[in-house]
Point group: C2
Chain length 391, copies 2
């Protein structure tokens, strides 16, 4: 018997309880252990819940239980979740989480505590919801140097961008509909301004850099709130879609890492990822391009990933794979304005002779169709509405 | 130091040697062990090879070495590879392979020998080349019951079908070009008749059935040699592509498993997988649809997957995850003619009022646009050229 506690009985916590109980037999046959939920910690009451008998408001019930094998942290945020995670790991109790904010901001410290106490801190569900991406990166692709990652890692923004295009509606209208359908929160800032994607890219970049920590603060980030319906229509007219892309690129011993709206050519697999779906393209030096696609959010898909981590630890007791993350003396992220990227430039009407694509860095002059732009491009300030990253 | 031998220094074996040596430092940092190639077994000479000093023709040099930790079997086929694999596993030496023929035909026996001798038999590279698919199925998606798998798992046939469409050429011409470009073998039978896909589907189906063995012999298989350019043009005209699909579907405690050319709607991600690329769509009861995409063949992508398995065993010594496969008393595969599937029916010209899609099983009458077909469909004998599976 492998005893687990769920910390936080919200959307993902409840989903995880459902997955672990519904497929209990399959799971037992796969990992050789019967996984039992012995505690659920939450400050709320859940009268009538099938798990009522194990729900508690007292953290000591959980952490002082000598038979507890593992905690599932689905509280979210970086305050209480941080305290509880430290408390568990310090006692040698492994923790599995879907909490991208906590992993991306406190990953180095928490992984160190796990290592010192011979337990594991796993977070497959923190990026891409149900999509397997963390474990494939750490293991299946372990023989590769990661050259590039392009991810659509936020379902809310992808849903909004897809709605704008499919229904021909404005950003404001699409956001309202997303909120009405439960795909965007009342305060949508973290999603639409790219903060959620920034956290996920911090995690992916750190793994791609072999454990050298890339903090969210180092990731230049722009959301989708200034993307107009005209931008989307123009993209469509040339066989592209606008997508919020979390981009990583290895540059020698350093890397580029930024979150920006991009024109993505529909010839690319990632240009066909619509609605709330997510996808992460990983390019390795030997494997070439791979892509991982699926539901990047939602109770049950995310719970599927959480449960996968739980099953691994039930089978192996301790994961041999999650490297400690080390904070480098100076940032390994090349500043955004020093990174050469592909940009698309366009204007409708008189200046359309200048429409095209060039690979430049901030401040460079741009040459398209033999025409040189008369001014340095000020991408950072988004002075012109007719320039965007291109993929 | 973790000592490995490579059995068979062909395309994949040589690629694996290259991957393990080129990224030796990265690999060491990821698994905590320095992986050293101490033997390469092949009957040929390789004068001037950087690995010349470890190449041997004498199998005893490999199997009698007390310091050997693991064998990489990249011989292919099910004869010598079978003998060597049994010899290694019987001595408690783990084996990693890309050999789909051997895994699909002898998997139950070889996994049992591995279990009895406390070692592992891993085969991530046997399906989908470099694409992570076996490990995600066993682990990341371990909490799910697998409902459905749709795979483009053979690069040669996908290249031929893509060429026919893009260049407007016949099957014979496309096959000739594929052979000239090194994408098809001189005897292309195993690829074009679907035998390679059948073997891979046997492996995927067995894992999806939780270790209940689905033999290649039980998988109804049709290749692409009878797909005409007219078929492809018609598919294109209605927004579809013709793809060779390896299909698995859970039906209660049993399953459907077949390899057939399918019309695939381009609205699906898998309808956009072209050239030599592979993709596998896996639908789980909780995660929903996921898709894994990348290079399904080739020396280095396949070697990347082989090396990923080697790294895992170097880190963990023994995998806790590969279930033994059990041969059921009677087949769990529902006979093809009892399986309800979606089919597309079409004819050009007078009868086009009957063009459409219906979900039926072999022998059923078909009703489209209110019109009932006057005859039972004889799909098995492909009596009509205007019917194909639809996805």
């Amino acid at each position: 018997m492998y005893n687990v506690a769920i910390l936080g009985f919200g959307v993902v916590g409840a989903g995880t309880a459902e997955v672990l109980s519904s497929n209990r037999d399959i799971i037992k046959s796969r990992c050789g252990e019967d996984i039992s939920i012995t505690h659920i910690l939450d400050i709320r009451d859940f009268p009538g819940s099938p798990f009522e008998s194990v729900i508690t408001k007292n953290a000591d019930d959980v952490f002082e239980d000598p038979d507890l094998d593992l905690c599932i942290e689905t509280i979210g945020g970086a305050r209480i979740a941080y305290e509880f995670t430290k408390r568990a790991l310090s006692k040698g109790i492994s923790v599995v989480t879907s909490n991208k904010e906590l992993v991306s901001t406190k990953g180095p410290e928490l992984l160190k505590i796990a290592e010192e106490n011979s337990c594991s801190y796993l977070f497959e569900a923190a990026v891409g919801g149900g999509i397997p991406i963390i474990r494939p990166l750490y293991r299946c692709l372990a023989a590769n140097k990661v050259i590039r990652i392009c991810g659509i890692v936020n379902g809310t923004t992808n849903y909004i961008l897809s709605s704008m295009k499919d229904k021909g509606i404005s950003y404001d209208e699409a956001l309202k509909q997303a909120q009405a359908n439960g795909y965007a929160e009342a305060d949508p800032t973290a999603d639409v301004e790219g903060i959620d994607a920034q956290r996920k890219l911090s995690i992916l970049s750190t793994i791609a850099m072999n454990g050298i920590y890339v903090s969210p603060d180092e990731i230049e980030t722009e959301g989708i709130s200034s993307v107009s319906l005209d931008d989307i229509k123009y993209a469509d007219s040339i066989g592209c879609q606008i997508k919020l892309i979390a981009y990583f690129e290895r540059i020698g011993d350093r890397c580029a890492a930024f979150v920006k709206p991009h024109f993505v050519n529909r010839d690319r697999m990632i240009g066909n990822v619509d609605d709330v779906f997510n996808a992460v393209m990983v390019e390795g030096d030997f494997v070439g391009e791979t892509l991982f696609y699926g539901r990047g959010a939602g109770s049950l898909p995310t719970a599927s990933a959480v449960a996968g981590d739980v099953i691994e630890l039930a089978a192996c007791k301790k994961s041999e794979f999650v490297q400690p993350w080390s904070v480098p003396a100076s940032s390994v992220v090349v500043p955004f304005d020093e990174v050469k990227s592909s940009y698309i430039f366009w204007s409708i009407g008189d200046n359309s002779a200048f429409n095209g694509i060039d690979t430049v860095k901030l401040g460079d002059a741009v040459i398209i169709n033999g025409i040189t732009s008369g001014h340095a491009i000020e991408l950072a300030s988004k002075a012109s509405s007719s320039v965007m990253n291109y993929l």
